[in-house]
C-alpha cells in the first residue's frame, strides 16, 4: 500500500523531479527508470465522443490525430501526459497511440 501511494505521488511529479535510476545500458545509452512498471497507466478501453460533446478540449492543446479516410480520432497530449499510451483500434487495425 505504501509503495502504491509512493508510486502515485511520484507519477504526479513533473518527470524532471523524479529520482531516475539506471537500469542497464543499450547501444551505449542508459535506460533510466523513474517509476515502477505501470506507474504511468496506459489507457486500455478508450472512450470517444464527437466534437459537440468535447467541451473539455482547449483549442490550443496539441493533439495526436489519426485517420484512415473513414474514421478520424484525436488524442489530447495533455491527457496523455498522465498515460503515455492508448491501446486502441482504427478500422480493423490494432494501434498504440503513444506520447
Amino acid at each position: 500500500m505504501r509503495m502504491m501511494v509512493l508510486t502515485l505521488a511520484l507519477a504526479l511529479l513533473p518527470a524532471a523531479q523524479r529520482p531516475w535510476a539506471e537500469v542497464m545500458v543499450i547501444d551505449g545509452d542508459p535506460v533510466m527508470r523513474g517509476l515502477p512498471k505501470d506507474g504511468i497507466p496506459a489507457i486500455d478501453n478508450p472512450v470517444f465522443v464527437p466534437i459537440g460533446e468535447a467541451t473539455f478540449m482547449d483549442d490550443n492543446e496539441l493533439v495526436i490525430g489519426v485517420s484512415d479516410g473513414t474514421t478520424a480520432k484525436a488524442y489530447s497530449t495533455w491527457l496523455l501526459n498522465g498515460h503515455e499510451i492508448v491501446n486502441d483500434t482504427l478500422g480493423s487495425a490494432s494501434i498504440a497511440v503513444t506520447w
Binding site: E22, V31, G65, V66, S67, A72, A74, S76, E84
Partner: protein
C-alpha cells in the same frame, strides 16, 4: 522508462521493450523488430477539427472527473533542460537543442524541418533524392503536415492572404495544408500524407544521429 530521453514501452505478451521514437524493439524476445507507423500527425485541436469535422476525440472524463485540463509539462517547455534525466549528451551545434521541429522518415532516413523556418500558413517544397515533398504549416505555424508531391510541380501563390500551390501542368490550385486540389482539373484530389512527429530537435536527433535538416 526512458532511453535517449524517449519513452520505452513494453508489450504484455512478450515483455519486449520498444523505443517509441523509432518503433524498434531494443530488448527482449522481439529485439530487432520494428512497429509499423500509422498515418498520423500532431497539431492544435483547432486545426485538427477543421480538417476533420466528424472526428472523434478521446474523452477526458473518467470517474466523473475531467483530467488533462492543462499541460503539466509547461514548465519543461519553457526551461533550457534537455530531457528530464540529465543523461543525454547533445553535441550537434547547427540548431539549438530545444528548437521545435517537424520530423518524418523516408527511405530509411530521418528528416527534420525547423518550424521557425516555416512561416505561419507557409509552405516548403524540399527535394529528397529525386522526390519532392510539400511541408505545409498550420495557420499559426506551430505544426505542419508533410505530403509527397509525386509528379506535381508546384509554385506558390498568395490568395486571400493564404499560400496556395499552383500546378501548371494540370491547371489546378491546391490548398497545401489540406493536401487537396481546391480547383482546376484535379479538384478534390488529395496528396499522399507522410506521418510526422512534432519534436524537439535534440530528441529527434538522439534517435536519428544522421538526420538531415531540410532547408528552404
Amino acid at each position: 522508462m526512458l532511453w535517449r530521453e524517449n519513452l520505452i514501452m513494453y508489450d504484455r505478451q512478450t515483455d519486449t521493450w520498444w523505443a517509441q521514437a523509432s518503433g524498434k524493439a531494443i530488448e527482449g524476445p522481439l529485439k530487432g523488430a520494428t512497429l509499423t507507423l500509422v498515418a498520423s500527425n500532431m497539431m492544435r485541436w483547432r486545426d485538427w477539427k477543421r480538417l476533420h469535422p466528424t472526428t472523434l476525440v478521446l474523452s477526458k472524463l473518467a470517474n466523473g472527473r475531467t483530467r488533462g485540463t492543462s499541460d503539466n509539462y509547461e514548465g519543461y517547455h519553457g526551461s533550457p533542460n534537455i530531457g528530464v534525466t540529465g543523461r543525454l549528451g547533445f553535441k550537434r551545434e547547427d540548431l539549438a537543442a530545444k528548437t521545435r521541429i517537424v520530423g518524418f522518415r523516408f527511405a530509411d532516413r530521418a528528416y527534420a524541418v525547423d518550424l521557425n523556418v516555416l512561416t505561419p500558413g507557409g509552405v516548403m517544397i524540399p527535394a529528397i533524392n529525386d522526390e519532392r515533398f510539400v511541408v505545409a504549416a498550420t495557420p499559426d505555424g506551430s505544426a505542419a503536415r508533410v505530403f509527397r508531391a509525386r509528379s506535381h510541380v508546384f509554385t506558390e501563390r498568395i490568395e486571400g492572404g493564404r499560400t496556395m500551390l499552383v500546378d501548371k501542368a494540370t491547371g489546378s490550385v491546391w490548398n497545401p495544408f489540406e493536401g487537396r486540389a481546391a480547383s482546376g482539373r484535379l479538384a478534390g484530389t488529395t496528396l499522399d500524407e507522410v506521418p510526422v512527429t512534432l519534436s524537439y530537435w535534440f530528441a529527434w536527433r538522439a534517435f536519428f544521429p544522421d538526420v538531415v535538416l531540410l532547408k528552404r
